[in-house]
Structure formats: structure tokens, C-alpha cells
């Protein structure tokens, strides 16, 4: 049970933003801009960064829901998601994405750990300033979301099939603030 009085039966961050829509709307807006608005990185690549950071933070809800979204967006290349979660190499991941995921993993630990070498390695594989900026901010943002979701003890479904419809919704509708059910 969550540490505060959030709507019953609603999982993860959805329960928290329904409890406090004043902050929730800005959190969803930020996520929509970062993960869906036009960017040199595809929505699937950006979901992979979110998944990677959430896996490293051991946040089951965020990892599972963003992994599900990434699988929907990647279609037949969906197996890459499990490779990212388990740190396995895969030919479906570009060298640029590998370098960006390395930067994201550093940010997850601390911003100070990102080195000039990490950045120049990404640049060697054609990462632009915009790619690097967005990677750092996505990794930083999920360092927030993971703490928010777990720090308030929000409901985390343990059945993997429960995340499939969430992934479909995130892949097709993006980040839309959930509305409190009216009784």
C-alpha cells in the first residue's frame, strides 16, 4: 500500500498524479516533450533510455511500463528491450545508442560521472549536442520519476501482462494526464 492516500487500485505514477494533478500536469508535459515531441532520437530510442535508467534504479513500475512502450514502438525489433535491461549486446542497437546509454548510466549514478571521453565517444558515432542534451535530461528525469514512484511506495503490479496495455497506451496516446474517476 502506498504511504499516502492515493486512489485505490491505480498503479505507479498514475496514482500519484491523480493525488496531486497540480504537479502531475507539468510532469506529464515534460515527459511528452522529452519522449514524444520531434527529436533526432526516435520515441523508441528515448523509451530505451528511460527503461535503461529505471532498470538501473531497480524501479519495477517505471522499467516495466517504459519497456512495454518501447516494445510496442520497436515492433519486430522488440527483443532489443530485454538486451538493454540485461546489458547484453545486440546488433539492433546502434553504436550511437550504445554511447548514449553509457552516458545515461553515468547520469543515473551522478551527473559528475559524465566524462569528456564519454561525450567524445558519442560524438564519434554522430551524436549531436541535441542528442546529448536530451539523453542527459531524460536520464535525470527518470532519476526523479523512479524516486517519486518508489519513495511513496506506489502500487507496482507484479504480473508482466498488466504492463502490455500500458505500453500500447503510451505508444499510441503518449503522456496524457489521467483523470480522477468521478463517482
Amino acid at each position: 500500500m502506498a504511504y499516502i492516500n492515493v486512489p485505490e487500485g491505480v498503479p505507479g505514477i498514475r496514482s500519484l498524479v491523480m493525488f496531486r494533478p497540480e504537479t502531475g500536469r507539468h510532469l506529464y508535459q515534460l515527459t511528452q516533450v522529452l519522449l514524444r515531441d520531434p527529436s533526432p532520437l526516435s520515441p523508441a530510442e528515448r523509451e530505451l533510455i528511460a527503461t535503461h535508467v529505471s532498470a538501473r534504479n531497480n524501479c519495477m513500475f517505471c522499467m516495466s511500463s517504459h519497456a512495454a512502450a518501447a516494445r510496442e514502438l520497436l515492433e519486430e525489433k522488440r527483443d532489443v528491450v530485454d538486451c538493454v535491461i540485461h546489458n547484453q549486446s545486440t546488433p539492433h542497437l546502434s553504436d550511437k545508442m550504445k554511447a548514449l546509454l553509457n552516458i545515461a548510466g553515468k547520469v543515473q549514478q551522478s551527473g559528475k560521472l559524465v566524462t569528456d571521453e564519454d561525450v567524445s565517444q558519442a560524438r564519434q558515432h554522430d551524436a549531436s549536442d541535441r542528442d546529448i542534451h536530451d539523453t542527459v535530461l531524460i536520464a535525470a528525469t527518470f532519476s526523479m520519476f523512479n524516486r517519486y514512484v518508489d519513495g511513496l511506495g506506489s502500487l507496482t503490479p507484479t504480473d508482466p501482462t498488466e504492463y502490455v496495455p500500458m505500453g500500447k497506451r503510451l505508444a499510441t496516446m503518449g503522456y496524457v494526464l489521467p483523470q480522477q474517476q468521478k463517482n
Binding site: I4, H26, L34, V114, R147, Y148, G151
Partner: protein, 182 residues
């Protein structure tokens, strides 16, 4: 030097905020609600949470920018502010605030570090669900801001009085209509 090309002369978060207004807008609006909008926690108490977490993350720019604001709102000096962020357990603040800072310190390590016992203690000292929510989200948000500022290798003025001296203006300006070029 920063890891990416940022507008010249803007310290800390101001560089990336000026670079990418699309993300700055929700970030600043979030900060406005969390740190400045009406709340049963005072602005000083909320800025103290931001300062404490930024101190734990060793983010020079954020701990001094928000430390300056906390100092302004709480009417204390730099030395007293430093004592509060380094040893909140002996600070001249309420027992409820000490319990909320303890929760913030756990959030800084990782969400799972927060225990039911810490929450119970805060509630026993009068903390409401909303105060606990906002404490956790402020602490989590500064784990984001600190990583954003340091992960891009931004620069920060090293003279700590720079932050103290501009706090009053920053407090009046707020976050929602924040102009990174000022």
C-alpha cells in the same frame, strides 16, 4: 567547459534552460508549484529540502542557488545555512521538518530507501499526506535538476556570495516566468 555548446555567460541550469525552452517550461512550472505556490510548508522549508538534497548530491550550483533562497526566506546567515544542510538533525527547525528532511535524504539515495517507519514518524509529528508527497517529489526533482546541471558539465560562479546577493531578486522573480538570460 560544458559538454555541449551552451549560450555564453549563463551559469548552472541557466545555460541548458536557455538552450531548450520546450523542456524549460514544464521544469520551471513544476518548480513554481513545488517550491513557491501556496502550501502548508513554507517557501523557506521547501527551499531547505532542495538545498539539503543538492548538498547530498554535491551539486555546487543548486545547493548555493537554493541555499541562498532558503537563507533569504529563513532569515539566517551563510554559516547557519551550512549548519542546517550539513547537520539538519541539530538545526533550529521543527521536529516535523527534521522528519521530512530524513525522508528527503532517503529519497536522494533511492526511492526504496524510504521506510514505513520514517513516514509514520513524520505523520506522528503532524505531517500531512500532501506534505509527505511534496517532500518526496521535491527531493526527487532535485535528484533530476542536480544531474541535469552536472551531467552537462555546466559552470558555476565560485564566490558563494554571488548566490546570497541575488536571492532576494530571485525570490521575487519566482520560477514560472523565469528568464534564463537574466
Amino acid at each position: 567547459m560544458a559538454h555541449i555548446q551552451l549560450p555564453d555567460g549563463l551559469p548552472g541550469i541557466r545555460g541548458p534552460m536557455a538552450l531548450r525552452p520546450e523542456t524549460s517550461k514544464p521544469l520551471n512550472e513544476l518548480a513554481e508549484v513545488l517550491l513557491r505556490a501556496d502550501n502548508s510548508l513554507t517557501r523557506g522549508e521547501r527551499e531547505l529540502i532542495a538545498t539539503y538534497v543538492s548538498y547530498l548530491n554535491d551539486c555546487f550550483f543548486c545547493q548555493n542557488a537554493h541555499g541562498g533562497l532558503a537563507q533569504h526566506y529563513l532569515s539566517c546567515d551563510l554559516e547557519q545555512m551550512d549548519k542546517m544542510k550539513i547537520h539538519p538533525e541539530t538545526a533550529p527547525i521543527s521536529e516535523k521538518m527534521k522528519a521530512l528532511l530524513s525522508i528527503s535524504g532517503s529519497v536522494q539515495k533511492g526511492g526504496k530507501h524510504v521506510t514505513a517507519g520514517q513516514i509514520e514518524k513524520a505523520k506522528g509529528l503532524g505531517a500531512t499526506d500532501l506534505e509527505i508527497h511534496d517532500t518526496v517529489l521535491i527531493a526527487a526533482a532535485f535528484c533530476m535538476f542536480n544531474r541535469y546541471v552536472d551531467g552537462l558539465g555546466t559552470w558555476a560562479p565560485q564566490d558563494r556570495m554571488f548566490y546570497v546577493n541575488r536571492a532576494k531578486t530571485r525570490a521575487e522573480e519566482g520560477y514560472a516566468n523565469y528568464n534564463p538570460h537574466n
